[in-house]
Each structure stands twice: as C-alpha cells, then as structure tokens.
Amino acid sequence: MSVPLVRGLRRGLGRRLRGGLELSLGLGLAGLMAVLIPLRDQVRSAEPSRIDLHDRFAPPGTAGHWLGTDHLGRDLWSRVLEGLGWSLGCALAATATALAIGSLLGLLAAERPGALRTVVRQTSSLVMAFPGLVVAICVMAVLGQGFWPLVLTLGLLTWPVFARVVFAEASGILARDYVLAARLTGASAVSILRGHVLPAVGPTLFVVGAFHFGEMLIAESALSFLGIGAPVGVATWGNMLADSRQYLFNAPWMLAVPAGAIVLAVLAANLTGDGLGMRLRIPVRREALQ
C-alpha cells in the first residue's frame, strides 16, 4: 500500500470517528453513574452503613449481598453506591476548586506581565514542591475530617496544573493580532478576557478538567488509605479501600469492589477527556499525579 493512500485513509477514518467512540463510552459511563446517585436508595440492597457483626465477610453472591459484605457485615453494593455520591462529589468539587484558582491565576499571569506573573510562577512552583501529605495532616488537625476540608486540600494542592495550561493558552491568544487590535480600540482587559480568551481556553479547560477529575478520585482514595482523607465510617471508595487493606487475604472482594468502582469512574473521566480532546483537536499532555 502506498504511503499517501495510508495517510489518506487514516485521515478519513480519523475524521469520521474522531473521539466519537471514546466520548460516547465515557459520557455513557459517567451518565450511568450520575443516574445512580439519586436512584441509589432504590437500587441498593441494604442500609449502606448498617453494621451487622453476625454477617461479616459474606463473599460476593451471598443472598441479599450480591457483592458481599465487609468486616463489619455492611453490604458492599450499598456502600459502593453511597460512595458514588461522596467520592465523585469530592473529586468534582476539588477539580472545580483547582480549576477556579488555577484559571484565575493563569489568566492574571497572562494578562499582567511583570511582578504579578513572577509571583504566580513562584507560587505555583512552591505549591508543586510542597509536601502534600503535610498539608493534608495539617488541614485535618485544624478543620477536622470532612468533605470540604478534603476538597480544600486537594484543590489547594493541584491548581498549578490549570494555571499552567491557562497561562500557556491565554498568552498565545493575547499575542494575536485581533486581540491587540481590540486592545488598541480601547477594549478593557476584562472584556478581552471574557470575549476572546475565555472562549478559546474553555474547551481546553474542559479536557484538562476531565483528566484532573480522574486524578482527584485517585488522590481521595490514596489519602483515605493513609487515614488522612474522608471521615471514619463514611462510605467513600477511599475508605472502603483503606478498610480492605486489613483483610486482603481473607476477603479480597473488599479490595475488588471499591477498586473496580474507582477504575470505572477514572476510566469514564479519561475517556471523556480523550474523546473531547480528539473532537476539539486539543493536544493535551497529562501530568502525573503529584
């Protein structure tokens, strides 16, 4: 087969399918989860936090507990559903926080070269070098454990990802001729940001945000695994994973159920991100979780 033919074929195929499959799979999965959140009381098999010490370590397939029970005899299917709201909500709120702080600072740095840009740059590298675990422990000591403290911790630690992306995109746009022209005609900085920069940066933010959401889910589980994440006893996927660690050998399903849930949710986020990126032709370079 000749090279141009291959390239042509690839391009044609690419246009037709560009991101379609990924996007529909990702959004489908995400939609399914979103639908399950309000319906969880209807589809669950038991009270999610109801402890029954006479029914510990029931394996998957047990009558009444199709995913089994944990070390306190709680129904894993009901808990994983309960965790859906908590864990996804936490990841979503953390992503939104990071996105808000990051884009604001990124835009500011792009719009105002000089001292402000330097400050943003230094702060962002400071945050990236900062030991996140210490922050998590300190926040826990000061605010206690809970949904919002965890969101705050994750948001405060990860905004530089967005700041960098927004800065790079926005400074490119601000250097364009039509923006310079708009500026010369007396358009205010705010209106330029709103009219030219935000529409251009928005799609990228969406894509980066989708991936970030997946990373936040993993981060929640890692912090809870170390005992510095979600509050004790609350059904979150991270807490469920943390519980499973003690029973790795006699109840492996305690690991499999929440791990499966996390993997599916991250998959949904990544598929959506990838699909969106392909559809909008945004080259996105993902950063490893810091």
Partner: protein, 317 residues
C-alpha cells in the same frame, strides 16, 4: 561555545538559583506556620501523662514558649548557616534523619523510572508506529484502563497474587534485588501506561510529519524511520512527563513505601508530621524540594539544549 551561548547558560543558572532560593524560603515559611497550626510538639515529647509544669519545662527547653515569629527568625537564621536543627523526638540532627532514608528513596525512584522507561518506550513505539491491529487496539485499551488504577491498588493486588496465590515469596524492606521487584513493578504499573500513551501519540504524530515523509522518500526503511527519526522526536516530547514522573518518585511515594516496608522519605515525612517533629518535617521538605527543583531544572536545561526554540526561563507559569 560562543559567548552568547555561555551568557545564556549563565543567565539560566542564575535565574534558577534565584528561583530555588525563593522556593526554599517559601517552603520554610509556609511549613513553619502551617505546622504550628497542626499541634504542639511539647505534648508529644512530654507524653499523655505530663503535668502542666512538665509541659512548661519542655516548652522552655525547646524554645517553644517564645512567640512564633521569634522562633521563626531563629530557625531561618540557623538555616542560613545550613543548620537544619535537631529532631525534637530523637535529638539527632534533622538532616541526618533525611540523609539516612534518602538512598532508599533514590534507589526506588531509579528502579521505578528504569522499569517505567523499559516498559513505556518500546510499548509506545510499537503502538504509535503502525496501523492499529486488534492486538494494538487491545493493548492501547489495556493501557487506558490501567491509567485509572491507583498505584497502591496495583501494589496490593501484586502482593496478594504473587505472595499468596502463586506462592512466590517476595522480600520486603530495602535490601537486595529480591526486595526490588514488587515496588518496582507497582510504580511502573502506575506510571508506564501514562508515559507509553504519550510516546505512542507522539510517535504517531511524528510519523505523519513532513520530515518522515522526506526520510521515507529518500529510501529509509521502516526501522530506520522509526528508530532514527520518529522515536527520538517522540521521546523529546515525552521528556517533560518523564521528568514530572521522576520528580514524583523522588519526593517519596508514601503508599508504596508503606506497603513494601520501604524506609524512604515519604515514610519519614508522614511519621515526623504525625509526631509533630517539626525540624525533621522541614528538613525533608527542604531536601526533597531542592532535589525536585534541581531535577526540573535539569529537564529544562535538557529541553533547552535539545530544542533551542524554547526560551530560557519565564516561558511557563
């Protein structure tokens, strides 16, 4: 080296040194006051049965009774003389505590990165270089799937399957090569899918670029096109991610260290934070911060050298 190039590198070094100092000062300051919110180390030193007088004595002995700004000033003054203070708990120099565990973390980081590269580069090249076949599609999907698995879940599954189901007896702790396998695999299992995907994308992109066509037209074989032209460019594009991953490893992957009883900086950090051993927490943060910064700078310099289109500093926020 021409004078302008030398000048450029001098400026590069100066800018980065300044940034490092600002970073370290920022780290110190922020940590100092944040940690003081977290608790009172005197209660940990004195223990649960301490009387009020004993607490007062402990505070006086460690200078914890002075106003925070005074403590901060004297800490920074000592820091300027490269004195990181002593551990509040063991009374040993805080820097020693960090340097003791650093080899373990660096070994783990080196091994993890080596395994990641060993997996990701060939896999990425294979995936990106050719027309997708079912096998490649399946591999790509698997990588995509693996990206969603938290690293410590990989570690726990590895422990469970290798150790218990398959009857293999991996050694734990930081010792000889037998102790390296599982932590290495866990880290690579977490990092390699990401890197492989980026490399694959870059290779695929490079394969459609003009210079590849030129190379092909001038009679280069597929092997030469891939290894001589496309892959090097793809790797250049992946350097930033690999650098980030290495920085992540160097800062101590605490969950992996916990699971494999690997005595590294992540472990030290969480232990010293829990016992409110402030000088040690600070020392860990400063040493790791310096390391990560240096690493990033080296990556920057590398990119700059390889791709002179990038400007020296200030191109990024």
């Amino acid at each position: 080296m021409s004078r302008t190039v030398a000048l450029r590198w001098t400026r590069f070094a100066a800018v980065h040194l300044r940034d490092l100092l600002i970073l370290l000062l920022g780290l110190t300051t922020l940590l100092f006051f944040l940690l003081r919110l977290a608790g009172d180390p005197a209660v940990v030193i004195a223990g649960a049965d301490a009387s009020a007088e004993q607490l007062a004595e402990v505070r006086a002995a460690y200078g914890l009774d002075r106003p925070a700004w005074q403590q901060y000033a004297s800490y920074v003054a000592r820091l300027a003389r490269f004195d990181l203070g002593e551990s509040l708990i063991s009374a040993r120099p805080a820097l020693h505590a960090v340097l003791e565990v650093l080899p373990a973390t660096l070994t783990l980081a080196g091994l993890g990165m080596a395994a990641t590269l060993a997996i990701a580069v060939p896999l990425g090249a294979w995936l990106g270089a050719h027309w997708p076949t079912p096998a490649r599609r399946a591999t790509a999907s698997l990588l995509f799937f693996l990206q969603g698995v938290p690293g410590f879940v990989i570690a726990l599954v590895l422990v469970q399957w290798l150790a218990i189901r398959l009857g293999m007896l991996p050694a734990l702790g930081f010792g000889g090569p037998s102790t390296w396998l599982l932590p290495m695999l866990s880290l690579a299992g977490f990092l390699a899918p990401r890197l492989a995907r980026v490399i694959a994308t870059n290779v695929a992109q490079a394969m459609s670029e003009d210079y590849i066509r030129t190379a092909r037209a001038s009679g280069a074989g597929p092997r030469e096109v891939l290894f001589g032209h496309a892959l090097p460019n793809a790797l250049l594009g992946a350097t930033a991610l690999a650098g980030t991953q290495l920085a992540f490893l160097v800062s101590g992957v605490v969950v992996i260290e916990f699971i494999f009883a690997w005595p590294g900086v992540g472990w030290l950090l969480i232990e010293s934070t829990r016992t409110l051993d402030f000088p040690v927490v600070q020392a860990v943060a400063l040493v790791v911060g310096t390391l990560v910064f240096t690493l990033n700078t080296v990556v920057d310099a590398l990119l700059l050298k390889l791709d002179p289109r990038l400007s020296a500093a200030g191109s990024q926020v």
